[in-house]
């Protein structure tokens, strides 16, 4: 009689170390919140989450050299996923630091659920960077998205916050449907959900490459990812959602979600569907151009700084897509570099916005910033630096990021895209400069007093400034790391 063999699945913790640490921290925060007395609640929850994120960051750096396909190909733990985890940890860390200050104005967010959801969203993002299977991408995406839908609604006394969450949720749910349907079509035409195996199948059966089912699947997937990265024409939700959500969460969405979605997009398009590159390049070219241009042109007329940054984030999605269209390894490395640079820059900017607040409200109109540059010189300097970085002015990191992106487009022969890209960055300078103009060139009309910032946000802003300058003046370290990540990407 044959013995029934029972194999204990080897739990490869190393491949998912950052995710494990983040999840454990999330659970710990949730439990601590329940068991800590209601009246003694301080900002300790935030600090505990922060410690978890830092440990996850360190673990990411420690397992940087890893290169293995774990859990039957469900997870691809390689340099690429490490880099995404690095970005996610930076994003989560800076967001938590901002939140610790922000909860002074909105005490409601000082609770276990907030930080727990934030950490689980980060877990989802890390998994998106490591996913090696379409199913895994979907699960990671939902983990991330559902957490963020709730986070967007956290200022539940404010109608705009509810509207923001509702809009994001409804559209997001639709988009999940598109995405899933796309996965189904791809499964139908290739018989597998595994990214590496899809590629192998298409190599073996080139006749499938141009089948309508596969192309349809790819198109539906593009809708799904395009929605998450705010690509034209799936960008309409961005301004309302960004404006209504609590400021730290807006920054979190603009950087973290973008990084995760771009990670999945890169994996799917280059690992699984690399053979279809010729099919998607043309249409992506057009979307890229429109995403950049529409984001920038509409941002010109915004008076609310959060809305302005929302449109600017659409534009930045456009710049990032330039790297996708370029389709070469250098473009992909440039995307990773840009995502990290954008994380520092954008979270820094949202951090500054979150500094200014009053009980139950915040100052988000552009005119509220009038005269603050001289009143709070360090804050003004930091904000100016972030704005110049987003506009791509050296020596900030935004310049180097754009330089890498556009030079990869030039290298791949997309000269017109590079030309439209730089024209766009000049257009964008106008509205980024407007922030500097109101901060420094205009006299204050109202007396805005900044309450004493908590040490966490000060550290966070200093880190963001250091990150922006470090990546701008000595880009080699992160650039080499990004190149390494792409080169060791599992195919």
């Amino acid at each position: 009689m044959e013995m029934l063999e029972f194999v204990v699945p080897a739990l490869n913790v190393k491949a998912i170390l950052p995710q494990v640490i983040l999840s454990l921290t999330a659970l710990a925060v949730l439990l601590l919140d329940v068991f800590s007395p209601q009246d003694k609640k301080t900002s300790s929850l935030g600090y505990i989450s922060l410690v978890g994120v830092v440990v996850a960051l360190v673990s990411t750096l420690m397992i940087n050299g890893i290169r293995e396909s774990a859990y039957n190909g469900m997870l691809l733990a390689d340099g690429f996923s490490s880099f995404i985890s690095l970005i996610v940890c930076v994003v989560a860390g800076l967001t938590i630091m901002t939140s610790i200050n922000y909860q002074k104005f909105f005490p409601r967010i000082n609770c276990g659920e907030y930080y727990c959801l934030l950490l689980f969203a980060a877990v989802g993002m890390c998994f998106m960077g490591a996913a090696g299977n379409l199913m895994m991408i979907f699960l990671a995406l939902e983990t991330m998205s559902i957490s963020i839908y709730s986070l967007a609604a956290f200022r539940s006394d404010d109608d705009r916050s509810i509207e923001s969450a509702m809009k994001y949720f409804l559209l997001g749910a639709f988009v999940s449907g598109f995405l899933l349907f796309g996965f189904a079509l791809i499964f139908g035409s290739t018989g597998t959900l595994d990214l590496v195996k899809i590629n192998a199948f298409l190599t073996a059966h080139p006749e499938v490459i141009h089948s309508k089912m596969l192309l349809g699947g790819m198109a539906l997937m593009t809708v799904g990812f395009g929605f998450k990265v705010a690509m034209f024409p799936f960008h309409m939700w961005t301004p309302d959602v960004y404006e209504g959500a609590p400021t730290p969460i807006t920054g979190f969405m603009a950087t973290g979600v973008k990084a995760a979605a771009f990670a999945a997009l890169l994996r799917v398009f280059f690992v699984a569907l690399g053979h279809l590159q010729a099919d998607w390049t043309g249409i992506m070219w057009l979307f890229t151009f429109l995403t950049m241009t529409i984001g920038n042109v509409v941002a010109l007329s915004q008076t609310n700084i959060k809305r302005m940054l929302a449109y600017s984030s659409i534009a930045h999605a456009g710049y990032l897509l330039v790297g996708i269209v370029a389709g070469i390894k250098q473009g992909q490395s440039a995307i990773l570099f840009y995502l990290l640079s954008y994380a520092f820059t954008n979270l820094g900017a949202f951090g500054v916005i979150a500094l200014l607040g009053r009980k139950g409200g915040e100052y988000t109109e552009l005119d509220d910033f009038a005269g603050l540059g001289f009143k709070y010189p360090l804050m003004g300097l930091a904000m100016a630096l972030f704005m110049f970085s987003m506009g791509g002015v050296p020596p900030a990191s935004g310049f180097i990021g754009k330089f890498y992106i556009f030079s990869s487009a030039m290298k791949a022969g997309f000269i017109w895209l590079a030309i439209f890209g730089v024209i766009n960055s000049v257009i964008s300078l106008y509205y980024y400069l407007r922030v500097v103009v109101v901060m420094y060139f205009k006299e204050a009309e109202q007396d805005i007093v900044m309450s004493k910032p908590s040490p966490a946000i000060v550290v966070g802003l200093v880190l963001a400034v250091v990150g922006v300058l470090q990546m701008g003046i000595f880009p080699s370290y992160f650039w080499d790391m990004a190149r390494q990540s792409i080169q060791t990407m599992l195919m």
Binding site: F399, F403, M410, I419, V422, V426, L429, Y430, K442
Partner: protein, 529 residues
């Protein structure tokens, strides 16, 4: 080659940053201490830069005091700096004018003194960096970096229309330079394709043979970027706005050094990188330069505002510089370089003078003055010297530059030279007419009767400029001999490479037809055989 075995260029470039650090720890209420520190740092900076002159080797065209350190290895970007005869005097001009700017702002700037001085020092570093960079990306970084402090100088301490002027200045210049960046990236990949080396070093890229059809577009991108900075007609419209709104020191730096970045860029980057396209563009550029000369002078003539008048005179003077450079001969280029220095000194002095009188009367309108010479004799003397220098009277520096440019231009395009020479008559008209209306005429306005003459600080500010006007006027050799080797090598190199390009492709329609005909001939011969 670095004859000092000491990174002197880095020291010169980044010394002002050290000043910024010191300034940032001084209390912002201690305004005099802040001003004093800034003066001290800029003066020391000037003295640090002097060894560059003494140790400069006159006979070599190679880069001197070179520093080369890898910066972004994987991309082939280097921290590559050096000085030759083209950049030497511009570097000295920068370190020379900055202390003067700081001094001139002593009492004019009362608001945010600390931030103001920080901006000036940062600007100095950025300008010096752009002048000594031999790596295109390094250059681009400094080039863009110049915009930020200048933008702040105009926007924070400027006049009533400051926001408009500052934003226009920034966007105009940035729009020009992004295309240059693309052009740089293109060159980089093209160079890799041809030579297999990733480099942004201009000395390497000079050697590149660029297909003529591509060269045209790359050259155009560089030209537009630099022409905006110069500024050349018709891209000059940002300049009067920026000048009029900027505080005095801002105008001095803008006119004295920042505009030279454009002309310097032509000479260092655009022309030697693209000899063939430059040659093709020469008639266009010379025409625009001459239009700039005449147009600037005519518009200056009708300005009621003294500062605007000086600003338009800049357009005219820079037209001369461009005409000289594009004459593409020894006299023209050296004259152009010399005129860059002259313009920095004479226009710098004029802006200072306008600033001084504005500080006293809070108006710059010519009609508000008259007979000022009677109450301010010292002021009148300095004003006269600056005016004569600007008009290019023999004995002043302006004469040397202009005569060299005209000689050079006569050799290359006589008709333009004739028109340009008549432009210098307009120059005399608008400058002397302004001087007459402001300084002479009856002293009929009561506000003007009480004007105080220059104080010691103001005299100290103007004296070095006035002395230089004559030194450069009487002893041009002191300055020109250091340029000779570089400029003559520049021309030899430019011409040999132009010839090489010209042989690659028939240059004119006639030649092209000739080529077709000879081809037919040989075909016929083959058939006959």
């Amino acid at each position: 080659m670095n004859q000092l075995n000491f990174p002197i260029i880095s020291l010169v470039t980044f010394f002002p940053i050290f000043g910024v650090l010191i300034l940032s720890i001084i209390d912002k209420e201690n305004k005099d201490v802040l001003r004093g520190t800034a003066v001290a740092f800029t003066v020391i900076e000037f003295f640090i830069s002097l060894p560059l002159i003494f140790y400069f080797n006159n006979v070599t065209h190679n880069m001197q005091f070179v520093e080369l350190i890898p910066w972004v290895k994987s991309f082939g970007i280097n921290y590559y700096m050096g000085i030759d005869g083209i950049s030497l005097w511009l570097v000295i001009l920068t370190t020379f004018l900055t202390p003067i700017c700081v001094l001139s702002s002593w009492s004019y700037i009362q608001k945010y003194v600390k931030e103001y001085m920080v901006c000036l020092l940062l600007l100095e570093t950025a300008m010096l960096g752009a002048l000594v960079s031999l790596d295109l990306i390094l250059f681009y970084v400094f080039w863009e970096l110049m915009l930020i402090p200048m933008y702040l100088l105009i926007g924070v301490w400027g006049g009533p229309q400051k926001i408009y002027a500052a934003v226009k200045f920034f966007i105009y210049t940035a729009a020009g330079s992004v295309f240059m960046l693309l052009s740089i990236i293109f060159l980089y990949y093209y160079n890799y394709k041809v030579t297999g080396v990733y480099t942004f070093s201009i000395l390497e890229l000079y050697k590149l043979n660029i297909p003529i059809s591509v060269q045209f577009w790359l050259c155009l991108a560089f030209f537009v970027s630099f022409a905006i900075k110069v500024p050349m007609f018709p891209l000059h419209t940002w300049l009067p706005d920026a000048h009029v709104q900027a505080p005095t020191a801002g105008s001095v730096i803008l006119a004295g050094v920042l505009l030279k970045m454009g002309t310097y860029g032509f000479l260092r980057f655009a022309m030697p990188l693209f000899p063939y396209a430059t040659h093709q563009f020469t008639p266009v550029m010379a025409t625009l330069a001459v239009i700039g000369i005449i147009y600037g002078a005519l518009v200056a003539m009708v300005q009621p505002d003294m500062k605007k008048l000086v600003a338009y005179s800049s357009v005219s003077h820079l037209g001369y510089v461009m005409l000289g450079l594009f004459a593409l001969n020894m006299q023209g280029i050296e004259g152009g370089l010399y005129q860059m220095l002259n313009h920095g000194i004479s226009t710098g002095a004029l802006f200072l003078i306008v600033g001084m009188i504005y500080e006293r009367r809070h108006t710059r309108m010519i009609k508000d003055f008259g007979g000022v010479a009677k109450v301010m004799p010292i002021f009148a003397t300095f004003f006269m010297i600056a005016t004569l220098s600007s008009v290019a009277v023999p004995g002043t520096n302006g004469f040397v530059g202009e005569i060299m440019i005209l000689i050079g231009a006569f050799r290359s395009f006589p008709i333009f030279a004739v028109v340009a020479a008549s432009g210098s008559i307009f120059g005399a008209i608008y400058m002397l007419w302004m001087y007459q209306r402001v300084m002479f005429c009856p002293l009929d306005k009561p506000e003007n009767q009480k004007l105080k003459d220059l104080n010691v600080r103001e005299i100290v500010t103007l004296l070095p400029l006035a002395v230089l006007v004559f030194v450069m006027g009487f002893f041009p050799g002191l300055f020109l001999r250091k340029m000779d080797a570089t400029v003559s090598h520049f021309l030899i190199d430019f011409n040999t490479r132009y010839e090489a390009y010209a042989q690659q492709q028939p240059q004119s329609l006639g030649d092209r037809i000739a080529v077709v005909l000879t081809a037919k001939d040989s075909k016929n011969k083959q058939l006959n055989n």
